[in-house]
Symmetry: C2
Subunit: 245 residues, 2 copies
DNA sequence: TTATGTTGTCTATTTTATTAGACAAGTAGA
DNA sequence: TCTACTTGTCTAATAAAATAGACAACATAA
């Protein structure tokens, strides 16, 4: 409900009007301006506010309902279902499960797949290896209260951590698996944060609406001596999470 | 060039196919996969790769050319113009001008406007004030090499910093203006990072293509004793910048 | 010059997005 | 029950996105 844009400029945007309306309403909800249980303005009023037809507003509301952000009841109105964004803390010691403790009842991390591959230039430079070195690549999906919250790709040197994937599969925790190699502690060396639209695969695994925005974090964790242990590329739905430094 | 999406699902997305194609190509460029000067594949090949019509690809390329990301020459092809993203470092000591030094030749910060207003709940809690307290609000635009890179809204307690706006206008540097009040040094207490689409105003002042994605940083700077000095809400074009923690 | 591959431009058609209006069906309070 | 307001559903018309095909204009190398 933050912006009102005339439909005459829609052809410049490449983003459908109903989606811009849905984005604006969702922004107020995940930003905390509207609390769960609150009733949204009526469809006619929203149509006026966005200078759009009521049918266009209805399409936006239908999309938000499909996302689980609101719930619409005939004769009564639309009501906010989803709470505001949860925070993911980034610091020297960044641990996924510790991080969301207190903000969700159940937290889980699943391994989607793993494979052995040759390090690309970016992976090699992050891990301090030569390009082409054998590395283990893990694909994981993390959830809070059964809602997918993070899709990560993780690379580790195969020579340093042989068999990492099978150990991780038994107990899908990075901290625990590293401990099994004698790494008692590790620290976050650097984090690069960017944002972009989700692709088809990410839309599916994270159960997002097409066109959703992701926060992308590229991080390197090192041992206490500063030697790179792993390189992680994590994608967070921007509507569900914010990163706190 | 990362994803290939069938056009049959476009009606679910709310984002036009030509814009999804433009986003994919731009992502490869700002991500460093394509260097300035590189030639893109021909329109016919791109059309095949994205399962789209050549006219649709042409519209995507036209949009990228209007953004200044590529340049198209008849009979020759399309060539990458823009370099990869620049990095904005976030840490205990975060200073805009120091941060981009070395990545751009000229760096400037302009004040767009200032006004006195009553603190909203979120501003008040960030600055440790009571809601409704008088605060100065600055709207600034920062550029590197004459390219707008950051649009920020900054709030400070009016009682603590009377006249801040006029002092800032004379020398538009936060560090320098705080120094004029006897604040020799200050530190970043917290930063919250999220992402969303740009609204109409941001699209205009940051000279972005409609529908562009912004990285949003909400930060509180404090004096060395930990007392909040200012609250800043900065928006960075996600295609031009990445945040490094 | 010629052959080939590239981008530029035109017309036409189909599909989707958006608008417009009318009325049914549900809710809540007087 | 009655009234006023809400969401749900239908038909229809217009605007924009996307596809399809043909050919012109330009660049490059043989």
């Amino acid at each position: 409900m933050t912006k009102t844009e005339s439909s005459s400029e829609s052809h410049l945007s490449g983003v459908a009007l109903w989606r811009r309306i849905a984005d604006a309403i969702r922004l107020d909800i995940v930003g905390g301006k509207r609390q769960p249980g609150d009733r949204l303005p009526g469809e006619t009023e929203l149509a006026e506010r966005f200078s759009a037809n009521r049918h266009t507003v209805r399409r936006a509301l239908a999309a938000l309902q499909a996302e689980g952000v609101i719930r619409t009841e005939q004769g009564r109105g639309s009501f906010v279902d989803q709470a505001r964004r949860v925070s993911y803390r980034i610091g020297k010691r960044t641990r996924f499960s510790e991080n969301l403790a207190g903000q969700a009842a159940t937290i889980s991390r699943d391994m989607l797949s793993s494979r052995l591959e040759n390090a690309t230039a970016s992976v090699a430079s992050a891990l301090g290896l030569r390009a082409g070195t054998k590395v283990t690549r893990l694909e994981t999906l993390s959830s809070a209260d059964n809602r997918p919250m993070s899709r990560a790709s993780i690379w580790l040197s195969y020579a340093t951590f042989p068999d990492f994937a099978t150990r991780f599969m038994e107990n899908p925790s990075i901290t625990a698996t590293l401990a099994s190699y004698g790494i008692a502690d590790y620290a976050r060396a650097s984090t690069r944060i960017s944002a972009r639209h989700a692709d088809a695969d990410e839309t599916a695994t994270l159960k997002l609406a097409p066109g959703a925005i992701l926060l992308v974090s590229e991080a390197v964790d090192t041992d206490l001596a500063g030697k790179p242990l792993l390189y992680a590329l994590s994608r967070f739905p921007a509507d569900l999470m914010e990163l706190v430094v």
